[in-house]
C-alpha cells in the first residue's frame, strides 16, 4: 500500500550541503506493522515529513494505494513523540479535530471519539483538558486520535520516546492489544530494539549520515503477542543482530 521509491533528501545550510536520506526504498503492506530503527539523527523524522508532505522531495516518489502522493498533505494519520494535544480543546475535541481535518463531519467525529474513549476505558477523561492527563494518558489519546483518523496509513514517530521505562512497557502492550483488534498499516520509528521486535511484522534498519536501508528483518513471532517474548531465544538473537548493525 505504501511504497517509497528511491527517496533522496539533502539540506543546505551556510553553503554546505548535508545529505540526509539516500536512496530509501521501502514498502508497507495492507495491515502490516513496519518499524524503522536507526541511530539518533538518522533522518527518520525527515522521512516522515516527506511522507506527510511537509518537505519537498529531492528525488524519488511516494506511492500510496497506487496513487503518487509525493509532496501532498493529508494522506496519513500521525502520532508524534510529544502527544501534541491542543491544550485548549478537551480530550474528546482533540480526537474529533483530527477527524474533522480529514473531512469527517463534526458530529460524527465527536460521537466516534466518545465511543472509543469509552471502549478503551478513558471515558472519564473525555471532557478534561489535556494538562490534566499524565504522559502515558496523553499518548493513549494521541494514539486513539491517529487510529480513528480515516487515512489508511498511520505514522508513529517515536511515540513512547518521552515516557519512563515502566509506562513505556505498559503503553507498548496497550497499543499492541488495540492494534491487533483493529489492524491498520503502520510505519513506526523507534530507538528501542525491544519495542520494534515486540510490535512489528517487519523491521527496517537504518544507518545514519546519510540514512540508508542496511537490513530488513521479518519478525517471526505469531500474533496475538504477549509480553513474554523477552525470554524467547529468537527474540534475543534478533536483538543481538540489530544491535550489532546499529553499533557498527
Amino acid at each position: 500500500m505504501l511504497e517509497l521509491k528511491g527517496l533522496q533528501k539533502s539540506f543546505r545550510s551556510n553553503g554546505t550541503v548535508r545529505e540526509v536520506l539516500r536512496d530509501i526504498n521501502l514498502n508497507v503492506m495492507d495491515g502490516e506493522f513496519v518499524s524503522i530503527i536507526g541511530p539518533s539523527g538518522s533522518g527518520k523524522t525527515t522521512l516522515f515529513q516527506l511522507i506527510g508532505g511537509l518537505q519537498q522531495i529531492d528525488a524519488g516518489e511516494i506511492w500510496l494505494d497506487g496513487v503518487n502522493i509525493s509532496g501532498q498533505k493529508g494522506h496519513i494519520a500521525y502520532m508524534p513523540q510529544q502527544a501534541s494535544l491542543l491544550p485548549w480543546y478537551s480530550v474528546k475535541q482533540n480526537i474529533a479535530l483530527a477527524l474533522q481535518i480529514s473531512h469527517v463531519p463534526k458530529s460524527t467525529a465527536l460521537k466516534q471519539a466518545e465511543q472509543w474513549l469509552q471502549q478503551v476505558g478513558l471515558a472519564e477523561y473525555a471532557n478534561e483538558y489535556p494538562h490534566k492527563l499524565s504522559g502515558g494518558m496523553s499518548q493513549r489519546v494521541s494514539f486513539l486520535r491517529a487510529l480513528l483518523s480515516p487515512q489508511k496509513l498511520m505514522l508513529l514517530d517515536e511515540p513512547f520516546g518521552a515516557l519512563d521505562a515502566l509506562t513505556r512497557l505498559h503503553m507498548q502492550r496497550w497499543l499492541l492489544s488495540i492494534w491487533e483488534q483493529h489492524r491498520r498499516s503502520v510505519l513506526l520509528v523507534t530507538h528501542s530494539i525491544e519495542e520494534a521486535l515486540l510490535l512489528s511484522d517487519r523491521i527496517i534498519v537504518f544507518a545514519a549520515n546519510p540514512a540508508t536501508v542496511i537490513d530488513e528483518i521479518k519478525v517471526p513471532f505469531a500474533r496475538p503477542r504477549e509480553g513474554e517474548l523477552w525470554s524467547d531465544s529468537t527474540f534475543n538473537e534478533l536483538k543481538q543482530r540489530i544491535y550489532e548493525q546499529l553499533d557498527a
Binding site: F48, P80, Q82
Partner: protein
Amino acid sequence: MENKRALWRSLLPPVIMLAVIFTVWELIVRFELVYSWLIPSPLGVLKEMAIGWERLLEHWLATMQLTVLGFLGGAVCGILLGMVLHFVPLVRQAMYPVLILSQNIPVIVIAPILTMLLGFGLLPKVLLIILVCFFPICIAMLGGLAQVDQGLRNYMGMIGSSRWQQFVHLELPSSLGSLFSGLKIAASYSVLSAVVAEWLSPKVGLGGYMILSSRGYMPERVFAAVLLIVLTSLLLFWLVSLVERLLVRWRPRKEAR
C-alpha cells in the same frame, strides 16, 4: 481558610503603607506646611466627593463612555491589523517600522490636530484613544500569533490541515495569552488618553472637569477626579482580566491568574 489568610498577609503591607502616606499627607496640610489651595487634604478630597458625587458621576459616565468606545475600537483595529500583518509577511515588513515610528509622536501633538480636522465632537476623541490603544494590542496579537508551539505546528501540518485550519485551531488560541497582556496595557492607556482627549474641549468628562477645577483653584475637585481616574483604570484592567479568565479556561489555575 489558608488562602484567605495568605491574601490578608499579602494585602496588609501595602494597606499600612497607604495609610501612613495619607496620614502624613493629612498632617502636612493640617499644619499648613503647604498652601491648601495648591494641595488639598485627603479628608477634604473625600468630603468633596461626598458632596459633589452627582456631578462627578455625570462626568465619570461621560469619560467611561469615551474610554470604552475608544478601547473597543482600538481592540478591534489592533486585532484585525495584527491578523493582516500575520497573514501577509510583505505588509508586515513594510508596516512594522512605520507602526513603531508612529508611536513616538506625542499624543499631545496629535490631539489638537485631530480636533482641528474633525471638530469638537466625540469622533476625534474616540479616534485619539484608538490611536493610542491599537498599538500595544496589535503588537501583542502579532507576537502571540507568531509564537506557536513547533511540535503542535508540525502535528497540524502532518495531518494535512489547511492554512486556515491552522489559524483557527492553533494560532488564534495560542495568541490569546499574549493578546490579553496587550489588552491590559491598552486598557490603562485608554483611560489616560480619554482624559487627555477631554482637555481639548472641556465640557463633560473627568478630564474637562479636572482642567476647569484646576483653573478655578479647586484642588479638592482635581484630586477627586484623579482618584476616580485611577479607580476607573483599575476597573477596566480587572474587567479585561475577567474576560480572559472566562475565555482561557484550559490553563491550570496557577498560571491563569
